[in-house]
Subunit: 201 residues, 2 copies
């Protein structure tokens, strides 16, 4: 039986947003499902010494240009946010909560809505009021969500998710694992498609 | 008139080697020529804080895996070298010498031969004897080359080439500039092809 694709993403990553906008369609085309895993790149970068792309001299300017160009090419609505990068903990906890309470499909739906709020609509998803509004628009119980994401259980769950991701070799985002095979970056969607279509190469 | 594609590469970069193996065919398909520019990533990284991919925790293991997979997918002969990364100054000077004395076509030919010696045949292109043999196999005057690459003029020329590249925004390799548009990475060959085919997007 075809296994699910594991999709690791950070709500602060533009390329993660591009991947999030396309991965369900790609998976569905080949009869696969997707498990969405919000992670915190900040925690990962403590181990790898990475840093936000746009903050690197020279490379940062290129990255902003490349993001706009890539969004245009794939027809993905995108505005580079005024506030960037952001701490993505709040959004990640919301996504985990939706998964805990309502299952994978709602986690996916809320994750994509939060990504769009930030990268398409310029909303600040580090603000409780913003994530509350996004959740309520999907018909989720916003009050229950806010209570849960301020609790220690979900904070601990997120920490464990990040640790588990790193144990699987996740060092950046987006990061996809297909049949145990790791692929890093929206750039690798072409290789993932070949893998799904023809099997290992 | 269609302008040449500027191709910046470091002889120590596996993805630079992949790009070098495919860029002439891509350019020719759309009636373009390629100007090959050897650069030294070590010098660039002093400004950007970059470091060799394979030396980064977790990411390094993935990078080695991804290189092998990408080489297989594109049917490019590739063996990860025992000695890696290397100082690419010697090879870069040889390439510049070939361009100075024999013109662009010979620079391209020698550059590709040096890349193949290192990444396909496991030869150490930091050794004078190796670059000499590679040059002689192409019918170049090896003795004249060795004399030139030990002179101060070509060292200064390489320094200026690296500075000029950085002024154009080059922060990594491979790096391609097409009609003023920057593209970083072998991953961007699909976007470059769309650009060459349909124009700006």
């Amino acid at each position: 039986m075809a296994t699910a694709i594991d999709f690791y993403f950070d709500f602060s990553s533009p390329y993660g947003y591009f991947a999030a906008s396309r991965i369900e369609a790609l998976a569905a085309k080949y009869g696969r499902t997707v498990h969405w895993h919000p992670v915190l790149l900040g925690a990962v970068f403590k181990t790898t010494g990475g840093q936000p792309l746009t903050q690197i001299p020279i490379k940062g300017d290129y990255a902003r240009h490349d993001m706009q160009r890539t969004a245009r090419l794939h027809a993905i609505p995108f505005r580079f946010p005024e506030k960037f990068p952001i701490s993505s903990q709040l959004a990640a906890r919301c996504a985990l909560w939706a998964g805990n309470v309502h299952g994978e499909a709602r986690k996916t739906e809320l994750s994509l809505a939060l990504y769009r709020a930030y990268f398409a609509h310029g909303q600040d998803i580090t603000e409780t009021q913003t994530v509350l509004a996004v959740a309520q628009e999907l018909g989720l119980d916003g009050a229950a969500m806010i209570e849960a994401i301020n609790g220690t259980a979900i904070k601990e769950q997120l920490r464990e998710e990040v640790d588990a991701a790193m144990r699987r070799g996740v060092f950046g985002a987006p990061f996809m694992i297909v049949d145990g095979e790791p692929f890093w970056g929206f750039d690798r969607f072409d290789q993932i498609e070949l893998w799904l279509k023809n099997g290992p190469f």
